[in-house]
């Protein structure tokens, strides 16, 4: 019903370009999450869709209608703000009713709409209270209710959980997921810098960086098949480790000679002539385990963080480089200061050359299938794909992104 189409969308303030060449198709009923580091323009993009920011160049379509110059209230959208943006002088009911009153709906219609929204969000006992008499979570629910009563085609969320405490954030996140499930044909666009929210809520995640789209894909696809080092390190916590090395032998399985003398076998194909190519081996902390035989990393543990379910090992915290982090399941006392040898499955490793993943060297990949078992293979599914092409230019994080 209401799909969105962003074509070469750009935003600049005077000479400062904030966003450029944003191409994105959002299907009706999708839950899309924009993530990215601070200042990447994700909120600006959302505000452009809302109509609160002028579009400098490009075209924005909502439900096949170009809305570049259509006022916000006529775009069929509703927005939930980070700061709730409730009208402090109006009761909960009046807050929700405001848009309907402006639209000239009858009293009965308004009452019915606010009653049902109040019921849906468990706000019925609070309908006659002022926002200041509500808790943070309740206020955010009123803000959501204000969007619901308008029954928009597209919901926009601008970091709606950032002002809530940790426990409430989880609870409200689940409420938003349930809300989406209860209206499958409504499109939702959600901006956050929290990757847990992005991973748990999204049908597709749009990673924004450096004024453009770094990658678009399902949450696990971004996790398992990041298109470049930026996405690789942005998705997943702690961030993916990058170990520099050179290609040693090529084939369907590549051998990489790492700096420091160790070797790693990677289940990513390379071609003849790649020998000696400078690459970064990407390995996620949670994919690392203690090696019985060959190791791809060895080092002295500088620091451990025991979280109970996992233990984080830090190597090279005193050096000026980014530390290497390993995440071992369970409790491992007494590892501090010890020399440890670690390895990982060839399937779980990533290879980057000049910041770009070698997986995408030959263009688009077949549709993504989650890796179910550690030995499951990637790229074995049928061809035919409508993925976004990776953006050109190298986006490299400066140090740890989070």
């Amino acid at each position: 019903m209401a799909d969105l189409k962003l074509t070469s969308l750009a935003k600049s303030y005077g000479d400062v370009s904030v966003l450029k060449d944003i191409d994105l198709d959002i299907k009706s009923g999708e839950f899309i999450v924009f993530v990215g580091p601070s200042g990447c323009g994700k909120s600006t993009l959302l505000r452009m869709i809302a109509g609160l920011e002028q579009i400098t160049a490009g075209e924005l379509q909502i439900a096949r209608r170009v809305v570049n110059d259509i006022p916000p209230s006529q775009r069929g959208i509703a927005m939930v703000f980070q700061s709730y943006a409730l009208y402090p002088h109006m009761t909960v009911r009046d807050n929700m009713a405001f848009a309907l009153k402006i639209a000239g709906q009858s009293k009965d219609q308004i009452k019915a709409a606010t009653d049902s929204a109040g019921k849906m969000l468990q706000l019925t006992p609070y309908l006659d209270r002022l926002p200041k008499a509500l808790s943070g979570g309740q206020r955010q629910r009123v803000a959501i209710g204000r969007a619901i009563v308008r029954d928009p085609q597209v919901y926009l969320f601008d970091e709606p959980l950032s002002n809530l405490d940790a426990a409430l954030r989880v609870a409200t996140r689940i409420e938003i997921a349930q809300l989406k499930a209860s209206m499958p044909d409504r499109t939702m666009i959600y901006v956050t810098h929290d990757q847990t929210e992005a991973m748990t809520l999204a049908d597709r995640i749009v990673v924004l960086a450096g004024g453009g789209i770094a990658q678009v894909g399902a949450p696990l696809e971004l996790y398992e098949r990041p298109v470049n080092e930026f996405v690789a390190q942005f998705i997943g916590s702690p961030a993916m480790n990058l170990l520099p090395g050179r290609v040693k032998t090529v084939g369907s399985v590549t051998t990489v000679a790492l700096e420091g003398g160790l070797e790693a076998r990677v289940a990513i194909p390379t071609r003849e002539g790649d020998q000696g190519m400078q690459v970064n081996l990407g390995v996620r902390p949670e994919d690392m385990r203690e090696a019985d035989g060959d190791a791809l990393f060895e080092g002295t543990v500088d620091l451990t963080e025991a979280l109970g379910e996992v233990t984080l090992l830090y190597f090279g915290t005193n050096a000026e480089t980014v530390p290497i982090i390993a995440k071992l399941p369970g409790i491992h006392p007494g590892l501090n200061g010890r020399k440890v040898r670690l390895t990982a499955d060839p399937d779980a490793l990533h290879l980057f050359h000049n910041g770009q993943s070698l997986l995408y060297r030959d263009g688009d990949l077949p549709p993504y299938q989650p890796r179910t078992t550690p030995s499951g293979s990637m790229g074995s599914t049928p061809a035919g794909d409508d993925r976004q092409a990776p953006t050109d230019g190298i986006i490299k994080p400066e140090g740890p992104v989070r």
């Binding site: 006022p71 703000f81 700061s83 009208y87 402006i102």
Partner: protein, 331 residues
């Protein structure tokens, strides 16, 4: 020259006296309760209880002397005859109730009370909103604020010239009559036009107070969270609806403070009337009436004081409400 020396030495003594008092009294306090030894904790606590009073003391003393004492003295005087020689009870108040000029003053004060705060606040609010997003808005604001820097007497003189009258045929030096004659009208003696002249005086105070209202309300408008305005825009509100349904209600507290502050100024209005009409032609107000009885011709301290007390009784409740609102705003 002698006067100059007197002034300089008075200032020097005043400043030195203040410093000596604050330094000396605190030094003495620290001597009596030293912050060391066995009872250091107790001493610090006791000194802490006394210290605020050392700072407040002089202010309380002088406020008491120049504000509180005169109130009671006025009340006392209002119960005596014209030269204070004979106790007359509430006779002065009884006389006030029957006096035509007093009734005229009360009525005029009420009129001022309704018109001036309303107009000044309204114009201030409009000026604040309209100048907020303009490039030359700050210049406009400075111009609107400038009359605040002019004394009421000065403003009265300026506007007396605007309302100045010359007989028909002569060159009009008053701005208003010049405009009227330019458009073919007859020059008027504006300040004697019954009924209207009150409003001509009020315009002067509105002219002065609009700047004050504008500055305070402009700050309040800027304090409104931008998101609530954006949310209203998304909800489909027009600029007018945003202003009246979202912005104004959010700064209602500030509007109340501005309104009541101007109301208090209005109740005490004296200089403008004194300079421009001196209460003639039906423009008398309470403060000027009080001045008339107190200091003009044969002074009547009893009646003058009685008017002063009435004026104070009128101002007090507004003052209390004003302070209450202002404190609520701060919180």
């Amino acid at each position: 020259m002698e006067l100059l020396w007197l002034a300089v030495s008075t200032i020097a003594i005043g400043v030195f006296g203040c410093v000596a008092w604050f330094w000396g009294s605190n030094w003495l306090l620290d001597r009596i309760y030293p912050a060391k030894g066995e009872k250091a904790g107790d001493n610090i606590r006791r000194a802490g209880q006394i210290r605020p009073w050392l700072f407040l003391g002089p202010a309380i003393l002088f406020l008491g002397m120049y504000l509180v004492y005169p109130v009671f003295d006025s009340l006392w005087r209002s119960l005596f005859n014209s030269d204070g020689s004979q106790f007359v009870g509430v006779d002065n108040y009884v006389w006030l109730m029957g006096d035509g000029k007093f009734r005229e003053s009360m009525l005029n004060n009420m009129l001022w009370l309704l018109v001036v705060p309303a107009l000044a606040t309204l114009f201030g609010l409009l000026a604040a909103q309209l100048t907020d997003r303009l490039k030359w808005g700050n210049i406009g604001k400075s111009l609107i604020f400038m009359p605040m820097a002019i004394s009421f007497v000065g403003a009265g003189v300026i506007w007396k010239f605007i309302y100045e009258y010359r007989a028909s045929g002569e060159t009009q030096i008053g701005l208003l009559n010049w405009i009227v004659t330019r458009f073919g009208g007859e020059p008027q003696i504006w300040l004697t036009l019954p009924g209207w002249n009150n409003f001509f005086l009020m315009i002067v105070l509105v002219w002065i107070q609009t700047g004050f209202a504008m500055v305070i309300l402009s700050a309040a408008l800027r304090g409104i969270p931008e998101e609530t305005i954006e949310a209203a825009v998304l909800d489909g509100a027009s600029p007018l609806q945003v202003f009246f349904k979202i912005k104004v209600p959010q700064i209602m507290g500030t509007i109340a403070v501005v309104w009541t502050t101007i109301t208090i100024v209005v109740l005490k209005v004296f200089d403008i009337v004194f300079v421009m009409t001196n209460g003639q032609w039906g423009t008398q107000v309470l403060a000027n009436l009080m001045y008339d009885w107190m200091f003009r011709g044969t002074p009547d301290y009893g009646r003058g004081s009685a008017i002063a007390i009435v004026l104070m009784i009128l101002v007090t409740p507004i003052m209390v409400w004003n302070i209450y609102n202002a404190r609520k705003e701060v919180r």
